[in-house]
């Protein structure tokens, strides 16, 4: 069952990758796009390799780490509403990136950019956890996340407005709503190492997350070092989110939705849900990135708008369905 699911999701991602390589203003067929990757076909190769491949790879990487992070955070906090987006981490990561970028500290293609975004994400998660306290309910956690996210979003807009920047509005829109448009292979290189690191940490946490289904004390009695596990997941979540936001702006709700799609198919095991959730996240973000290119509009629809349009109703649906038990579950 598990293997079939993984294989099915991988096939879906491959199909969506192919679609992503063929979609755009220049009409290139799937066959040509595949050939253009490996052979030099002139302009077709330039378009496929330099324009469409980076955004496709980024959609896969970012979708993967968001899905994986969402599943790990939900497992850690034993709660289906947990996600970096719910904790305001993408907005805070965007703020970190914007601060170093718009005050001229670094160029747009520097390692300092993901580093600042990671610090921003870490600060927001730490702040939310600090305000909410250790023994808290998910309601408190979500409320503090909402506050931190709004604050970071406002601070981002302010920072861009204050910087000597003629394109401030466009830039604010990019950082707050996210986009994979016009990304290059340099962006892929900036994000990939961090995403690989975060993935490794999260996958290492898998056995501990399984035991945590029984609560912190029982997990500890089963030999899990809960404090170390919590630190590992939180740091990995910040690294993955920060690196992603640094190259694509804040994209939310993929991590919230993806785990729910796969959990019933892995018997709700928080450990076995990780990889399928990552793959589902990759498929979701790829599909969204294909959709923004197909939706007829003047300028391309921002991908963060689409993920929020789909993700927020989903979030509300989970709240409505689990209202009764969300009231008193400690996070």
């Amino acid at each position: 069952m598990h293997r079939t699911l993984t294989a099915g999701l991988a096939a879906l991602i491959l199909g969506l990758c192919l679609a992503s390589l063929t979609l755009g203003p220049a009409p290139i067929s799937a066959a040509t796009a595949t050939r253009a990757l490996v052979q030099d076909l002139g302009p077709a190769s330039v378009i496929v390799r330099e324009i469409r491949l980076p955004r496709t790879v980024l959609a896969v990487l970012i979708g993967w780490i968001f899905g994986l992070t969402g599943a790990a955070l939900q497992g850690l906090l034993r709660n289906p509403l947990a996600d970096t987006a719910v904790f305001g981490a993408p907005q805070a990561a965007a703020l970190g990136a914007v601060l170093v970028l718009y005050f001229g500290l670094v160029g747009a293609l520097s390692w300092a950019l993901p580093a600042a975004a990671i610090l921003g994400a870490l600060a927001s998660i730490a702040l939310v956890v600090m305000v909410a306290g250790r023994e808290t309910t998910i309601v408190v956690l979500v409320l503090s996340g909402l506050a931190v996210g709004s604050l970071a979003g406002a601070a981002t807009s302010l920072a861009i407005s204050l910087s000597p920047n003629p394109f401030a509005v466009t830039e604010i829109v990019f950082w707050l709503l996210g986009s994979l448009e016009d990304r290059s292979s340099v962006h892929v290189l900036l994000a990939a190492p961090f995403i690989v690191l975060a993935s490794a940490l999260l996958l290492l946490a898998a056995p501990g997350l399984r035991a945590l289904a029984l609560g912190e004390e029982t997990a500890a009695s089963l030999g899990v070092r809960v404090g170390r596990l919590r630190l590992m997941v939180v740091v990995a979540a910040a690294i993955g989110t920060g690196a992603s936001v640094a190259v694509a702006g804040s994209i939310g709700f993929v991590g919230l939705v993806a785990p729910h799609l796969v959990r019933p198919l892995v018997a709700h095991d928080p450990a076995r849900a990780l990889v399928p959730a990552g793959l589902a996240g990759a498929a979701l973000l790829l599909a969204a990135d294909c959709a923004v290119r197909v939706i007829p509009s003047g300028a391309e629809v921002k991908i963060g708008v689409l993920t929020a349009l789909l993700g927020v109703p989903f979030f509300l649906w989970i709240i409505a369905r689990r209202k009764a038990d969300l009231a008193d579950i400690p996070a």
Binding site: L212, A213, L214, T218, L222, G223
Partner: protein, 263 residues
Amino acid sequence: MSALAAVNLQVRLGWRTVLHGVTLALEPGRLTAVVGPNGAGKSTLVRALAGLVVPSGGEVTWRGSALRAMQAGARSRALAYLPQGGTVAWPLPVRDVVALGRIPHGERPGALSREGAAAVERAMAQVGLKGFEGRPVTELSGGERARTLLARALATEAPILLADEPVAALDPRHQLIVLDVLRQRARAGAIVAVVMHDLALAARFADAVLLLDRGAVAAMGPPAEVLTERRLRESFGIEARVTMADGDLVITARGPSSGPDFP
């Protein structure tokens, strides 16, 4: 030397000292009932014995060496702990929840050794969960869920079993079944300690009763020596009649005591 022992164990939670120097020894082959009024420190004592809280003084030892110095993995194989009123976060099937008890042995649901699978089956059968294997644990009644979590602790097959109120949510029939299982575990050589409120059940099933009162051991010994009318008055604040009938201890509570300690 084979006992699980505490020497002058002190535990502070926040500013409050919950255990004031508890000294005791739990022997293999015996079922010990830990009793005491609300807030006496029973749960804290069991958590400290399980190595889950850092004592502010004293030490817990097993087979002569400090429990907290043991590797986490080795300790989890030696000691199974069942917290009070546990819940499961996800709608996992009952069999998978019970299989989580095999984690200390490096096994997991869906990848159990032959021995592990047998332990899981045995644990489920012992607490009467036959036919529940595939049911989502979140859809069970309180008592069924409590038995599932107990089966999880049993499935570890650890030489020490510490259970915090394992029968509180159970109907009378399952209380008897579960306590009998725990006593069998003890008879097979395990150290078993069970926090419970039902003094009649404690008197009936336990080999030894540990009476905890205000964070200290008020008495420890055979049920008939510990559960006396005077101690029930002093520690629990109840007026009770304790008699022997056909070799069984019969405790009849008649009403709450009144006095300076119990306004």
